[in-house]
Amino acid sequence: MASEGLDRRAVVARLLAGDERLPVVLGLGATTWDAAAAGDHPLQFGLWGAMGSAVAIGLGVALARPDRRVLVITGDGEMLMGLGSLATVAAERPANLAVVVIDNERYGETGMQETHTARGVDLAGVAEAAGFPIVRRVADQAALEAAAALIRAAEGPVFLAIKVGTEPLPLVLPPRDGVLLKDRFREALLGHR
């Protein structure tokens, strides 16, 4: 049952922690709040809209900056809206991109309605079938530790599907000004706007 899954805030904080800050794209909306709870940072581009776009935005960053590891963290509902982008990523095979789905089997922003993953749709299976060379299903702390290392080191693209619980959590919101989010990301990554 999803409510027995990992703590999503602890999972996202663990994935973001490391020696090097990774450029991160966060999907609308709970994963954006999760990253803010772990600590707001200019290299965290958190979406407040454009549902279904997180993976394709991450692909753009990864292709523009092959010298950097790039991370996308999004939810199951957001991922389901952009399944085609998994095929596009697999076709491009950016070795520096990792896609992580925080799967609580719910649309958390709209009343916790069940998503397709609650009815058995296997997002990791979709990524495998698309051709991601590295795919992991994560449901416990040991698997999380092993998978977290892949994000920073493996020859990707990497796909992680992480089952998390459904406990209600306090909203922790990053800035919502899109121009600010874009400009500060570029400044942190490129040194200019």
């Binding site: 809209g49 454009a50 753009g60 292709l63 523009a64 900056r65 952009g82 596009t88 899109g178 874009k182």
Partner: protein, 182 residues
């Protein structure tokens, strides 16, 4: 597939030169017969990464991500694709991301497929409603300059710019016999 029209001007080469000259390094596209030569030119350019998309909406997000990574990008699509990108354009406006799109038109004078007409007729207005500046060079020889100007405005003034290529220039698609479908 049979195409008519197009005239003698190689607008595809001009558009490619214009984009390449402004440092466009990533090209997202959903193919159209009218775009096939331009796509081939971009694929052959080792300074450009050509990315086939499953839907045009991905291309808008790809261009946003490319800009976040410091790389100017462009997106090619047929006019039907304009209907697939509207919510992604809202992000581009909200964040003031630059965007330059080339849209080959269907559904115009001479169209033989009724299903192409509603979106073709609505495309320019849909783009304007989504705060995209729309340019429509009516002569093939004006396309390269229009693309260069639109891309300059996109990347320097951080605007969303679309260049619509009229169906009269890309050619009317003919449906001649079995197996000639979309």
């Amino acid at each position: 597939m049979t195409q008519t029209g197009g005239g003698g001007t190689d607008w595809s080469a001009g558009a490619h030169r214009a984009l390449s000259g402004l440092g466009v390094g990533i090209v997202g596209y959903v193919p159209d017969a009218g775009l096939s030569r331009l796509i081939t030119l971009c694929q052959a350019d080792n300074r450009m990464r050509s990315v086939p998309l499953t839907t045009e909406e991905e291309g808008i997000a790809l261009a946003a991500g490319a800009w976040l990574g410091g790389m100017p990008a462009t997106v090619f699509m047929q006019s039907s694709g304009v209907g697939n990108i509207v919510n992604a354009l809202a992000m581009m406006q909200t964040c003031r991301f630059p965007l330059v799109m080339l849209v080959t038109m269907r559904g115009e004078l001479g169209e033989a497929n009724e299903w192409q007409i509603p979106m073709g007729q609505a495309a320019a207005e849909v783009l304007r409603l989504a705060a995209v500046d729309v340019h429509r060079p009516e002569r093939a020889e004006d396309i390269a300059d229009t693309v260069a100007a639109a891309a300059t405005t996109a990347f320097r003034a951080l605007r969303r710019e679309a260049v619509l290529i009229p169906q009269r220039i890309v050619g009317i698609k003919r449906f001649a016999g079995a197996g000639s479908g979309e």
